[in-house]
Symmetry: D2
Subunit: 263 residues, 4 copies
Amino acid sequence: MTQSAMPDVQSSFDPRNIEIDRVGIKAIKHPLTIVDGDHRQATIAECELTVALPADKKGTHMSRFVALLNAEPLVLSLATLPDWTRRMAELLHAQTADVLFAMPFFVEKSAPVSGQKALMDYQLSLSAHLDDQGQIETQLELVVPVTSLCPCSKEISSYGAHNQRSHVTVTARVTDASLSIVDLIGKIEDQGSCALWGLLKRPDEKYITEYAFDHPKFVEDMIRDVAGTLADYPGIDGYRVTVENFESIHNHSAWAVIDRLGS
Amino acid sequence: MTQSAMPDVQSSFDPRNIEIDRVGIKAIKHPLTIVDGDHRQATIAECELTVALPADKKGTHMSRFVALLNAEPLVLSLATLPDWTRRMAELLHAQTADVLFAMPFFVEKSAPVSGQKALMDYQLSLSAHLDDQGQIETQLELVVPVTSLCPCSKEISSYGAHNQRSHVTVTARVTDASLSIVDLIGKIEDQGSCALWGLLKRPDEKYITEYAFDHPKFVEDMIRDVAGTLADYPGIDGYRVTVENFESIHNHSAWAVIDRLGS
Amino acid sequence: MTQSAMPDVQSSFDPRNIEIDRVGIKAIKHPLTIVDGDHRQATIAECELTVALPADKKGTHMSRFVALLNAEPLVLSLATLPDWTRRMAELLHAQTADVLFAMPFFVEKSAPVSGQKALMDYQLSLSAHLDDQGQIETQLELVVPVTSLCPCSKEISSYGAHNQRSHVTVTARVTDASLSIVDLIGKIEDQGSCALWGLLKRPDEKYITEYAFDHPKFVEDMIRDVAGTLADYPGIDGYRVTVENFESIHNHSAWAVIDRLGS
Amino acid sequence: MTQSAMPDVQSSFDPRNIEIDRVGIKAIKHPLTIVDGDHRQATIAECELTVALPADKKGTHMSRFVALLNAEPLVLSLATLPDWTRRMAELLHAQTADVLFAMPFFVEKSAPVSGQKALMDYQLSLSAHLDDQGQIETQLELVVPVTSLCPCSKEISSYGAHNQRSHVTVTARVTDASLSIVDLIGKIEDQGSCALWGLLKRPDEKYITEYAFDHPKFVEDMIRDVAGTLADYPGIDGYRVTVENFESIHNHSAWAVIDRLGS
């Protein structure tokens, strides 16, 4: 039996009359090249690719998502994402579509005193939504790890102050595809008590210890400072920030959310 | 230095003039008793407790969330959740508040032929939002595992059909606190190709194998049938469903979303 | 067709002549009561239950593991674990058997200055191995979170010192079933730069900040101090310790292992 | 204060007289190129790099692990791993050392009937241990997803048979650095009821459905067949296999272990 002779169950009529907002594939890993200005690196993304399914159609064509992923080497950027999304929607004969690529992203950083270089990893997601008016909305999400040092602990103690690793998670609607992801990471890192580095020598460690002690911040301080930064950041229109402090004095997290994404 | 003599950094004035939507604690485990009608069981929840922080306040009082959790043995139900949320908001002097408890939830099920009894576990979350008008909105979220059997595979193959475990995740706005969680789980399970059980003897396995083969469903079929069920379910006003099939012929998932939660 | 009339495929002869070390069920959640001296609490375990399968047997009887779990309310302790393991081996007609229960375990702790009480959670596993001589070996595993404060950072900096949450994971062969898990947790916590608490008021936070600053420890210091503690701890014969510091100045962990479990 | 003038706390004498088996860094992500015969691909590894620390030394030099990772673009293979491990040990002045790189690994597969090509991902770890005699032992670990179809379900049912995704995890001591990872993956896949593919058209789906139905296997069958394959596989001396079936009729796994790694 050839393929064309086989029944195409997915294409048959569906009598329930319920539109599906999004249907497709999830949790599929794929290698790609991520491009950010002059910055270009190979990485591995976990992908989520979906389209809307009209109320009268029984099923979508799952294999086409995978075929598109494998059609050619994938080079991803804020600039190429909209076209890729439109291409997917066409291939699936869909009016609206969503794509999401989540991946590790590396930046080479120089230690603050010794200048020694090493990569730091961040978690980056790029996503796009094609609406039924043919408009594309692009978002990026970054998880930026920083140090937070507790102002209360510093203030009330005769010496020392508890500090810990924190995750700043920023989701931003991007209106300018030339936005620099590397630059944005740096601006977010600046709002912690101190940034992190992969490779630090003793003079760097002294610098960072003292810098964090000089910049104590509650989870509330960091989230406000990140929100303030994003409100003024060119190419961003709407954002959501969460900050999670993996408290070094508790077995739970301090956590805050500011949501200015709108809808 | 006594506590009252120590500077209270959190209570000081904040000049940035940025309101924080939610701030509090996250990723804290706590034992509790969950009550659903006559069903009452001990479980362990992971909790997320937050309040809004006005633009002029520097910080919230994190320890009060933990104090409230530990004030007395926690007995949780759709009926008790609103009062607990109000109590938390008062303790934190907050206008709006959010609580979330995520926990394993067990139902004793009888195997379909042998009748042998065993527990099945589901993932349950109960959450509440207190808004600035003093209104509480309650939601529940359930992850219900089922079998899905592929209609296309059945149709085109001379024998057999691929099938797999699937997760149906339902988020529902609850307007009737007497809603039965156990009943809702059963209604959701009915929409899979077959339900799952913890303990099955051979006659049960024969029954389930044939039942699933007689009820082939795409991810699109299951999500529509669950959506149809929820649309008519008493005590639910708005829902979001996702279905994820952990495909037995791929190393990725088929996945769908229907969102009728509104806002 | 009744069950006895159905073919029992699992019980048939296997010609490959390969013994299977362990076969059974995994990733099954079950509620139980954990008992440690006077301490008794409801919790939820994730269970791993396996037996050896002789070279000539095709399969084991998976449903019997689940039936045993559900036979009666499970009350687990270092003292009851061996009998439960023997019972499982008998039910499966197996010579050797392994059981593992992994669960959250709570201890009520009083804050160091204010004395305020709250639960702290630890991750506890109890496991037993029945060997072909009929001997049972019992092990416990604890993940104990503590603070670590870096001695180098303190020494080289004019003020402050970076610190962070750390996980001390202890696996110990238990020779005395009356060993107190709560006591052992306390002794492990004592080897960090400071212990953690769920609920802390400002005088407690001052105490902890200064205590940690007065007890700086590298990952190497903590692991040696834990190893020294376990070497002398009554009722323990053989141990393995790992310590992971979730560094507050890096996006990676410092990690160490001392293995004195033998075999 | 220059670095050489700063106290080097790590290098000082330790009086506790406890040797540390392994100390270093963990949970650090790094991009690398993995090479397997003619197969060469960019991927992202999570790394674990440790050395032994003598009883009289207070601490190791954590930053050197990171410096080595960043010294030059990392090209990893079974052949290059031993030298890299020796280089690390020298840099740390250590007698014994362990390295572990865990990463996604992709193979382009052609669908069995249509021949359409797409990548499939596997989880691969390469590790090496340098012992105090200067000998290196190299291991690889692979997680290979396959389909398993239940022989009992097939035998007792009038039609159909439950099946599901399974993970075959193989840890092998490698004695021949020219061993082909791609070939080994294929040989492991052959032991499932059927292999998986990323991209399948309808004729492929028919083929796979029928193939799996014609090759029913218990978790016990698959693990024995994989063990038999590994016992005869050139370049492997010692192995451990686990097989986990994510049962489509239960909310738990069937699981088996055969350990022929020795020590």
